[in-house]
Symmetry: C2
Subunit: 120 residues, 2 copies
């Protein structure tokens, strides 16, 4: 049933409005550029902003779990964590992480367009 | 700075383990097939399962906000809501919605692979 061999990290923040959404995207985009995007298997970081101004999701796509683990094991986690802390401290507004565990995900199923299912 | 003209709905649940993750995906995949996937502009629903068994994200991709609004305004929202409630009631385990507002999103920025940024 797996349709996707990729591996994802989903970073989820609650924020206090559209301005903070924009600030958070600018700060976290820079973190990707300085700390993440040059590791093998990195595909993209995509910033999803809720239309109501209250949430920001950054969905980071890796080619495989092995690529993600290699990044975690060989990168400067301490430097990256400090950069994230500085980015959050530098916001004009407030942002609160909503991750409840390791933010790592697999896509196990995809439903594409198709006719309405009417059985049963 | 927009890189994506699509429109997204992100459905986020906390669950009590891997079995509930699988049950929730099966139930919500069926809801896409019976209630959503045949509307114009529907692109995909992708089910993201956290590796620790505690979260499920369903990210539904529409070609445009207009397509999403057309779906909301012309579809049977009452029937769909009842089907979602029945799906949640039918789970062996527990699932709790974590959406804090209208679950609609735009992707405003994407950072692709590239060299490490070293300026500043």
């Amino acid at each position: 049933m797996t349709t996707d061999t990729g591996f994802y990290s989903i970073i989820d923040y609650s924020v206090d409005g559209h301005d903070t959404q924009r600030e958070l995207v600018a700060a976290f985009a820079e973190i990707q550029e300085r700390w993440v995007r040059f590791y093998p298997g990195y595909r993209s970081a995509r910033f999803h902003l809720s239309t109501d101004g209250t949430r920001v999701y950054n969905i980071v796509h890796w080619a495989s779990e092995d690529d993600y683990r290699h990044f975690v094991n060989t990168s400067d986690g301490e430097g990256r964590t400090a950069a994230i802390r500085a980015a959050l401290d530098g916001l004009t507004g407030t942002a609160e992480a909503r991750m409840s565990g390791p933010p790592t995900y697999r896509v196990v199923r995809e439903i594409g367009p198709g006719p309405r299912r009417l059985d049963g």
